[in-house]
């Protein structure tokens, strides 16, 4: 079986959507990895109340810097943040005014995306007892642009890009772009358009692993990172 992209590469490709001057919130999962690849001048936001954060302490840097970390500076997923010039802290009300304002790009992890741009982000089942909505509904509703990153198929091989969601809806009609480990797909008013394919894969092979129908863009091309 052919290789799909690693999470790192998916994150690298998604991060290319960001240009200096953009504000962006990164969801948990693959999107978090975009932080490392976002262009300088992109200001990252986390919904607990920080804008303009820089390097996130990963396992290595925590191990190295554990004595000088400021434990009061963390993102929404409790990853500790390095202090960087230009950072600001604010409360949740300000944060969600920002998130609703149409000023942020949201890159969120997806469980399913439909051909209408609906997305299931927070839960796999309506019988889920845990509350997992978090900021996902606000982030997808208010985004200037909503980018969903995910594996193209679930672990059992079933397609995650579908005609109709079978999982609980997080947002209706808001997804603009899907970046997976196989493809980059734009959501348009006339359906899904395959814009890029991962190296080694053909548009036809991608369609086979996609439940929804893809229109092949005239300028379809191989993904670059």
């Amino acid at each position: 079986m052919k290789e799909k992209l690693t999470e790192e590469l998916v994150a690298m490709r998604a991060a290319k959507e960001l240009v200096p001057g953009d504000y962006c919130n990164l969801g948990i999962g693959i999107p978090l990895n975009c932080a490392a690849y976002a262009a300088e001048g992109v200001l990252l936001e986390s919904e607990n109340g920080v804008l303009g954060y820089g390097p996130v302490h990963d396992r290595e840097s925590l191990d190295e810097n554990i004595e000088r970390v400021d434990w009061d500076i963390a993102d929404a997923g409790m990853r500790y943040l390095e202090y960087v010039p230009g950072m600001s802290f604010f409360d949740m009300l300000t944060s969600f005014a920002m998130i609703r304002s149409g000023r942020l790009i949201s890159i969120l992890g997806g469980l399913q995306v439909s051909e209408k741009g609906d997305a299931a982000i927070h839960s796999t089942s309506k019988d889920d007892i845990a509350s997992k909505i978090g900021g996902s509904m606000d982030l997808s509703w208010g985004a200037k642009r909503l980018i969903v990153t995910m594996t193209h198929c679930s672990k059992d091989g079933s397609p995650k890009i579908v005609r109709e969601l079978t999982m609980p809806v997080t947002t209706r009609g808001r997804v603009n772009l899907i970046v997976t480990d196989m493809a980059v797909i734009e959501v348009t008013s006339s359906g899904l358009v395959l814009k890029e394919f991962a190296p080694g894969w053909t548009p036809e092979e991608i369609q086979e692993q996609t439940e929804a129908t893809l229109t092949i863009a005239p300028d379809v091309r191989e993904m670059e990172f």
């Binding site: 554990i66 500076i73 943040l81 604010f90 949740m92 609703r100 809806v169």
Partner: protein
């Protein structure tokens, strides 16, 4: 002038059964000392309103929490946006699932944005708001829907907590508070919305000891101030120690998980 600076037990002496209690639960800025004091206070049938309720037994154990399911046995309803109760190794998740199934615990799901705007609507004493969040989702259930200028909204009720528990870096004796880093989160809005607000702080200074331009929560929203004792399990120093321990623990877990090399996406 009435002295606002008291112990946690004194501050919570008049909390009653059935109270609606709001707190910020998001790492930095979580009022752990007050939450434990409320647990010790022993009131029951609480409704808890919190942004998160991540009862991870593993992490909490590492952080030295008195009980992984803090306040859960005393609670009949939780209004929450994110709760990690399905962690496999969390005894709290089993307990929550059991109590929801037997009908003794109700969970009201909100989004983080709804959580904070409903509290803010409470602070402004509004009758309700029309919010765009949750249209087309399970959050529509039981809510009035209204189309305004062609956009769909859901009616949301304000939340006015009987008791707000908050955490801040420093207070002056009047009750003015400053915050540091991302420890701000929901604390300011909870302070403003609650009928009675208790703040735990790491340091108390005299009036004039805080720059008035940097005060995050003005004194009139703060009814009582509790300085966390230095020998408390939730003192600044011990909290940093616990965080270090918990981070090291999580680093190990992450290393193990990476070894298992789970592939794929997620929320």
């Amino acid at each position: 002038m009435r002295d606002k600076v008291v112990t946690a037990a004194e501050a919570l002496a008049e909390v009653r059964d059935g109270a609606l209690v709001a707190f910020n639960f998001w790492g930095p800025g979580t009022p752990l000392h007050l939450m434990r004091a409320l647990q010790e206070r022993g009131v029951k049938d609480l409704t808890i309103c919190t942004n998160n309720y991540t009862l991870r037994a593993d992490v909490l154990r590492e952080q030295g929490a008195v009980d992984a399911a803090i306040l859960l046995p005393q609670t009949r309803k939780i209004i929450v946006a994110f709760s990690g109760v399905q962690q496999e190794d969390s005894s709290a998740s089993v307990e929550i699932a059991r109590r929801v199934q037997e009908g003794t615990l109700e969970i009201e799901n909100v989004s983080h944005g709804l959580f904070i705007e409903r509290l803010h609507a409470g602070a402004m004493h509004l009758g309700g708001i029309y919010s765009p969040i949750g249209i087309g989702t399970s959050l529509e259930n039981g809510k009035e829907k209204r189309v305004i200028n062609g956009v769909e909204y859901l009616f949301q009720e304000p939340i006015v907590p009987d008791l707000g528990l908050i955490n801040a870096a420093k207070a002056d004796t009047l009750g003015n508070l400053v915050c540091h880093g991302t420890a701000r989160a929901a604390n300011p809005v909870i302070a403003m919305a609650s009928r009675y607000t208790v703040a735990e702080v790491f340091e108390v200074v005299e009036p004039g000891g805080l720059d008035p331009d940097t005060i995050v929560i003005p004194a009139s929203f703060v009814d009582r101030i509790v300085r966390i004792p230095d020998d408390d399990p939730y003192s600044r120093e011990r909290r940093v120690e616990q965080t270090l321990r918990s981070v090291k623990y999580r680093l190990e877990k992450m290393a193990e998980a990476e070894a298992e090399a789970a592939q794929g996406g997620g929320a």
